[in-house]
């Protein structure tokens, strides 16, 4: 008599336990799959964006650039006798120079040629040199001689450092920014420190409307990396990024 009650209770308890277990396992599986799909989607979008930038940069550099140079040559080869006409031709030539210069800058900003031709380290050196030349801030770059990263990851690392520098220029009011890049145990490590004004990271997270920080987090996430941000008002800002190769 008691056996039946006992067996009945045990069967019921076991069935409920299995149901709860299946519930937990299936929700974890679906969540993991969903996160993986989201990452793949974001990675695909960012890759498409970079490919588009590459295409536009190449088009500007390889087709429009030479055409404009050719137009300038043709204009300079016009024989003008009138001083007013000569003034106009020279003005047109100067405008063309400005257009070519701006266009090269746009092309460079879209995708630095050096990154494609010489790799990440040279591209970073060129980028930080151009910032140092503008004298807004002094960037001290410490690089290991060789990083063995795939070409497809180089652009993302470049963008991450570019974003950190942009954030520092925009918000930090810093005089110096140190950037260190190294490699350790199948991971690329990036450490940056500035002597700027710093900020309250918790408040910034809630109130931030800018895309810079989100872009940093997104790029780190799609590379399965880790991003740590440390900052306090008056104490500058540090970024630590660890990305598996």
């Amino acid at each position: 008599m008691v056996d039946k009650i006992l067996y009945g209770t045990i069967v019921f308890a076991v069935l409920i336990a299995i149901i709860i277990l299946v519930f937990i396992i299936s929700i974890l599986r679906y969540h993991r799959r969903y996160v993986r799909l989201q990452k793949e989607r974001i990675f695909a979008e960012i890759t498409m964006q970079e490919n588009e930038r590459r295409r536009i940069a190449n088009d500007l550099h390889d087709s429009i650039g030479p055409m404009l140079s050719s137009v300038k040559l043709n204009i300079n080869s016009i024989e003008v006798k009138d001083s007013v006409d000569e003034e106009i031709v020279q003005k047109a030539g100067r405008h063309l120079d400005d257009i070519i210069k701006n266009m090269r800058q746009i092309s460079h900003n879209l995708l630095p040629n050096t990154l494609e031709r010489k790799g990440l380290i040279e591209a970073l050196k060129e980028f930080t040199d151009s910032i140092n030349d503008s004298k807004h801030i002094k960037i001290h770059l410490q690089l290991v001689h060789e990083l063995s990263i795939g070409k497809e990851k180089e652009i993302h690392l470049f963008r991450i450092i570019q974003e950190i520098v942009q954030n520092t220029l925009k918000h930090a009011k810093a005089k110096n920014l140190q950037i260190g890049i190294g490699q350790e145990n199948e991971h690329v490590l990036i450490l940056t420190m500035d002597d700027g004004v710093g900020f309250d990271t918790e408040t910034a997270k809630d109130k931030s409307t800018g895309l810079g920080m989100k872009s940093l987090e997104t790029r780190t996430e799609i590379l399965n990396g880790k991003l740590v941000l440390e900052s306090k008002p008056g104490k500058g800002t540090n970024y630590f990024i660890k990305i598996p190769i």
């Binding site: 008599m1 008691v2 039946k4 009650i5 009945g8 209770t9 069967v11 019921f12 069935l15 409920i16 299995i18 149901i19 299946v22 519930f23 299936s26 929700i27 679906y30 969540h31 799959r33 969903y34």
Partner: protein, 220 residues
């Protein structure tokens, strides 16, 4: 109110479903037809009770149909479509279990709990899995998702059915278990009213089939 009248609450989702029948997707049309099956079963139960004093035979036959039908619904909703072997295994497995219990051991004229316990258990697992899929993947309001509401309703129904079968199994052991079982069994009828109301809400939220605004002519 008699149990038969309480069972007729299934008319609510059935009528709403039949009104919207042509506009909804096939998998949901089959769900509406399941409501019709429930109504037919209620009627046969009522008639059989009046004529023969028992409804065990139609009850057991309906349990088999219900189990096979719901597994087929999962096949249409996608989960068992991707797991074809599991679908075949479940259909064949529960059919075999029913045959063994009701025909080989001739329990068809009794209320034997084993088959219903097993198929209720597997149906609960399938609904838990489907529910989790919807929770993770649906970006819109889940409370207006027909499949979500159907899953919740069936989950409650079949989990209670597991309790019902266990309660029925131990009903004659002691006066306390008899009283407990009687409460569980009578409450099942009232629970059905709530479940049918949930079905009614779900059927109301079933999405309509996409209508193409135009068609393209075939190219030669």
């Amino acid at each position: 109110m008699s149990n038969y009248l309480k069972g007729l609450v299934v008319l609510i989702p059935l009528i709403i479903g039949l009104i919207r029948f042509r506009k909804i997707d096939r998998s949901y049309q089959l769900f509406v037809l399941l409501m019709l099956l429930y109504l037919v079963n209620e009627s046969i139960t009522h008639v059989s009770g009046k004529l023969f004093g028992t409804n065990t035979v139609n009850f057991n036959i309906f349990s088999l149909i219900e189990g096979l039908y719901i597994f087929y619904l999962f096949h249409l909703w996608g989960f068992l479509k991707k797991q074809k072997n599991l679908f075949i295994l479940l259909q064949v497995g529960i059919a075999l279990l029913w045959i063994i219990e009701n025909l080989v051991f001739f329990k068809i004229t009794e209320f034997s709990p084993y088959y219903r316990l097993v198929y209720s258990f597997f149906i609960v697992l399938l609904f838990v899995n489907q529910l989790n899929f919807l929770i993770i993947h649906d970006s819109k309001s889940l409370l207006k998702n027909a499949q979500f509401i159907i899953c919740i309703a069936f989950l409650i129904l079949f989990m209670y059915q597991i309790l019902y079968e266990v309660a029925y199994y131990i009903r004659e052991e002691t006066p306390d278990t008899k009283a407990f079982s009687k409460k569980v069994i009578t409450l099942f009828v009232d629970l059905n009213i709530f479940i049918n109301l949930l079905f009614g809400i779900a059927v109301f939220f079933i999405p309509e089939k996409e209508k193409l605004p135009f068609t393209l002519e075939k190219l030669d």
